[in-house]
C-alpha cells in the first residue's frame, strides 16, 4: 500500500512545477531554456514556412487542426501500406492489409492507439520507431494545443483587452502551439524517461530479433526469438502522451517493455504526469490558481476512490481459483514482479487518462476492477487524455454552472461570460455523443457472426443474459416448482 501512496505523491509533486512551466511555454513567457529551444523552434518554423506571429481565429485554428490531422493520417496510411519496400525492416515483415493500415492510422492519429496488430510481428522498425512514435508525439501535442486554445477562448482570447464587441478573438497560432508542445514538453520528458527505461532493461537497438536455444531441450519449445528494437524510445512517449499503443502485443505487461518494478513505477508516473500538469497549466494560463486547485481536488477525489476500489478488487481472490489453489489475490493476467496492487494502480490510472497501455490483462480483472476501468474511460475527465481530458472537464464545468444558475434563478455566468441556450446545446451534445456512439453502434458487430466471433460465444456460455426464450421459460418453471 505504501508504494501506491508514494507513487501518487511523486506524480503530483512533479506535476505541479511541470504545470507552471507548461503555462509559461504556451503563454510565450521567457525561460532560461530559451537559449536552447528557440533556435530549434525557429528552424522548424522556417522548414514548415510558418510565421510564428500570425494569429488565428477559432475558425482558422480549428481548420488547421483538422487539416493537419487529415494529412498526417494519409501519410501514416501510406507508410504502413508500403512498409515492405521501405528501409529498417530487418525481420522482412510484409505490408498491412488496407483495412488494418486504415484502422491503425486513424487509431494513432486520434490518440486512441487501439491496436489490431501485434507490433513485434507485423510492423517494421520504420513503422514503429519512425511513424508510430511520431504520431505519439504529435497527437497529444495537438490535443494540448486545442486545450490551450479553448482556455484562451474562454477568457476572451489573447486580444481580450483590445477587442471590440463582436470582433474575432485571437486564439494564438496552432502550428506554434504544436511545435512548442513537442519541442519544450514532450521531447525533453521522453528523452529522460526513455533513458531511465533503457537502464532498467527495455531494448534499444536497430538490429533484428535475437535467437536463443532454450534450456529445457525436452520441452516442446525448440527455439525462442527475442524480439528487440528501438523500444525504449517508443515506450517513453507512449506513456507520457497518453497514447498507450505499445511496441509489443502485450504492451507493458511484456517484460521487455516493462522489465522491473522500478520501470513500472516510472511508467505509471509517466501516465498521469502531463494530465495532472495540464490542470495546473490551465490555472496559470487563465490566471486563476483557485480554479486549478478546485479542478485538481475534484479529479483527485474521483481518481483516488476509483483507484482504491480497483486495488481492493484485485486483492480479492479470482472466483475461478477458489478451491483449486491457496488463498491469494487475483493473479490471472498479472505479472509476478508487479503483483495485484501495481497492476490495479496502472489499470485505474490508464483508463482514467484514456492512456490505454496495460501491465496486466484488464479482461481478467475482478468485476469491481473492471467496472472502475470502464467508468474511468466513459468519464474521460478524471485527468483524461493530454489536453482533451481537461477540455472535457471544462465542458462538465460549463454544464454544472448552467444547471446551478437555473436552480438559483440567475443568468449563469463563468469568467464573465454568459452561458445560454446557444452555448449549452452543443455542450450537452458533447456529453451525449460518446454514449450515443457506443450504444448506437454496438448492436452492429453483434449482428454479424464473424464479428461476434468466439468472444461473445464464451460470454453467452458463462452469462445467462443471452438465453433463448424457451430456456428462460424452463428456468422460470423450475424455479417456480421448487
Amino acid at each position: 500500500m505504501f508504494e501506491i501512496v508514494l507513487i501518487c505523491l511523486i506524480a503530483v509533486a512533479l506535476a505541479i512545477p511541470l504545470g507552471s512551466y507548461m503555462a509559461g511555454v504556451f503563454s510565450g513567457q521567457k525561460h532560461i531554456t530559451d537559449g536552447f529551444f528557440s533556435p530549434i523552434e525557429s528552424l522548424l518554423y522556417r522548414l514548415m514556412r510558418v510565421s510564428p506571429n500570425e494569429s488565428m481565429t477559432w475558425r482558422t485554428y480549428g481548420m488547421a487542426f483538422l487539416m493537419s490531422n487529415l494529412i498526417l493520417g494519409v501519410v501514416a496510411f501510406l507508410l504502413l501500406k508500403f512498409q515492405q519496400v521501405l528501409p529498417f525492416n530487418p525481420d522482412h515483415i510484409g505490408p498491412l492489409s488496407w483495412d488494418l493500415a486504415l484502422h491503425t492510422a486513424i487509431s494513432f492519429i486520434t490518440n486512441t492507439n487501439q491496436q489490431h496488430y501485434a507490433g513485434q510481428a507485423q510492423l517494421s522498425y520504420l513503422s514503429q520507431g519512425f511513424l508510430i512514435v511520431t504520431l505519439q508525439f504529435v497527437s497529444p501535442a495537438m490535443g494540448l494545443a486545442i486545450c490551450v486554445a479553448v482556455l484562451r477562448g474562454m477568457t476572451g482570447g489573447k486580444n481580450n483587452k483590445t477587442a471590440k464587441e463582436g470582433e474575432e478573438r485571437d486564439l494564438g497560432n496552432y502550428y506554434v502551439d504544436v511545435v512548442r508542445g513537442v519541442v519544450r514538453v514532450f521531447l525533453p520528458l521522453s528523452l529522460i524517461v526513455a533513458l531511465l527505461l533503457a537502464w532498467q532493461g527495455v531494448p534499444s537497438t536497430f538490429s533484428g530479433a535475437q535467437h536463443v536455444q532454450p534450456l529445457d531441450t525436452q520441452s516442446s519449445m525448440s527455439s525462442q526469438a527475442i524480439p528487440v528494437g528501438p523500444v525504449s524510445a517508443m515506450a517513453a512517449i507512449k506513456q507520457l502522451g497518453t497514447n498507450g499503443g505499445g511496441w509489443y502485443g502485450s504492451n507493458s505487461a511484456d517484460p521487455l517493455e516493462n522489465p522491473t518494478p522500478l520501470s513500472d513505477v516510472i511508467e505509471t508516473i509517466a501516465i498521469v504526469l502531463i494530465p495532472i500538469a495540464v490542470v495546473f497549466m490551465a490555472g496559470g494560463l487563465i490566471g486563476r490558481k483557485k480554479f486549478a486547485w478546485m479542478s485538481f481536488a475534484t479529479m483527485a477525489i474521483l481518481s483516488v476512490s476509483f483507484t482504491a476500489a480497483t486495488i481492493y478488487s484485485e486483492n480479492q481472490a479470482n472466483a475461478a481459483f477458489v478451491g483449486a489453489s491457496a488463498m491469494g489475490p487475483n493473479m490471472e493476467g498479472k505479472e509476478v514482479r508487479f503483483g495485484p496492487e501495481l497492476s490495479a494502480l496502472w489499470g485505474a490510472l490508464t483508463t482514467q487518462t484514456s492512456n490505454g497501455s496495460v501491465n496486466a490483462s484488464m479482461d481478467s480483472f475482478n468485476p469491481l476492477g473492471g467496472l472502475m476501468a470502464r467508468s474511468g474511460m466513459l468519464v474521460n475527465a478524471i485527468w483524461g487524455g493530454v489536453g482533451c481530458g481537461f477540455v472535457n472537464f471544462i465542458v462538465y464545468v460549463w454544464l454544472a454552472v448552467f444547471l446551478s444558475g437555473l436552480m438559483i434563478g440567475r443568468t449563469p455566468e463563468i469568467f464573465g461570460r454568459k452561458i445560454e441556450t446557444k452555448e449549452v446545446t452543443p455542450l450537452s451534445s458533447l456529453i451525449v455523443l460518446p454514449a450515443l456512439c457506443i450504444l448506437g453502434l454496438l448492436p452492429l458487430p453483434c449482428l454479424s457472426q464473424v464479428l461476434r466471433g468466439t468472444v461473445i460465444q464464451d460470454f453467452m456460455e458463462s452469462h445467462r443474459f443471452f438465453m433463448s426464450m424457451p430456456q428462460r421459460l424452463r428456468i422460470m418453471v423450475l424455479a417456480w416448482q421448487g
Binding site: E3, L47, M48, V50, N53, E54, S55, T60, M67, I71, L72, V75, A121, G129, T134, F137, V138, N159, Y175, V182, L187, S190, L191, L195, A198, G201, P203, T205, A209, V212, P214, L215, S220, M221, P227, P230, S232, A233, I237, S250, A253, P255, L256, P261, A317, A320, A324, S325, A326, E332, G333, K334, E335, V336, R337, G339, S361, D363, N366, S462
Partner: protein, 215 residues
C-alpha cells in the same frame, strides 16, 4: 500597441482566408514531414544510440550465455516441462515472445475454471501437494505469457520434486532458491520473486559440480 495588434490580427485572418485550402494542405504536409524527421528519426535515433552506448547488455534484450551459447533473455520466461527443472507460470501463448498475451478470460468464464482445475490437479500429482498449498501465480496465466518470474512460495513448492529428480539434497536446492529470491526493488516497489531461467541455470551448474564430484 493596441491598434497595431488588432490590425495585425485582421491581416492574419485575411491572409489565411486568401491562401485558402491549398495553402493549408501544403502547410500540413510540411508539418507532417518535419515532425516525422524530428520525432521519428532524430529522437528515436539519438535515444537508441545513447542507450546502446550506455547500456549495451540491456539494449539488445538482456540475452545471457550458457556454455558459450545464447540460452535466453533474463527478462523472458521459457517453457520448462521436464520434471528436473523448476517450472514457470502457465502461458496463454506457449512462451512465444513473438505472440505475447494473456488468456483474457474473465473470472466468471467456465473455461478459465476448467483450465485452473486441470493445472491444479497436474501439480498435485507431480509435486505431491494438496490444492490449498499451491500458490495462485503457479496456476494463473501471466499477462505477457512470458513472465520470467514465479513467487518464492511457488519455487519452494517445487524443491522436493527437483531435488529428487536430480539426486541432490533438498537443502542444497532450497538454498539455491533462497539465493535467487529477488526482494522488492529498493525494499518498496513490486513483489518478491524468483527468476525461473536464472534459477534453472544455477541448478544446472550445481548438478554439474555434483556429477564431477561423484565421479
Amino acid at each position: 500597441m493596441n491598434a497595431k495588434v488588432t490590425d495585425d490580427l485582421h491581416e492574419g485572418v485575411i491572409q489565411w482566408h486568401q491562401g485558402g485550402l491549398s495553402k493549408q494542405i501544403a502547410l500540413a504536409v510540411r508539418m507532417s514531414l518535419v515532425m516525422l524527421v524530428l520525432c521519428g528519426i532524430i529522437y528515436t535515433g539519438s535515444v537508441t544510440m545513447v542507450a546502446q552506448t550506455l547500456f549495451p547488455f540491456q539494449s539488445t534484450g538482456s540475452v545471457i550465455d550458457h556454455n558459450g551459447k545464447p540460452v535466453g533473455s533474463k527478462l523472458i520466461g521459457q517453457l520448462f516441462q521436464s520434471a528436473d527443472y523448476f517450472h514457470g507460470r502457465p502461458s496463454a501463448v506457449g512462451y512465444d515472445p513473438k505472440s505475447t498475451g494473456g488468456s483474457n478470460l474473465a473470472p466468471s468464464n467456465l473455461k478459465l475454471r476448467a483450465e485452473v482445475e486441470q493445472r491444479s490437479l497436474a501439480i498435485q500429482t507431480s509435486d505431491h501437494v494438496t490444492a490449498s498449498q499451491i500458490p495462485v501465480d503457479l496456476l494463473a496465466a501471466s499477462g505477457s505469457g512470458v513472465d520470467p518470474d514465479i513467487s518464492p512460495a511457488a519455487a519452494l513448492l517445487q524443491v522436493d520434486r527437483v531435488a529428487a529428480q536430480r539426486h541432490l539434497s533438498v537443502n542444497a536446492v532450497k538454498k539455491l532458491v533462497d539465493q535467487h529470491i529477488e526482494h522488492p526493488q529498493w525494499a518498496i516497489f513490486g513483489q518478491a520473486r524468483v527468476n525461473v531461467l536464472m534459477l534453472n541455470l544455477a541448478l544446472e551448474t550445481l548438478s554439474d559440480i555434483n556429477n564431477t564430484q561423484s565421479k
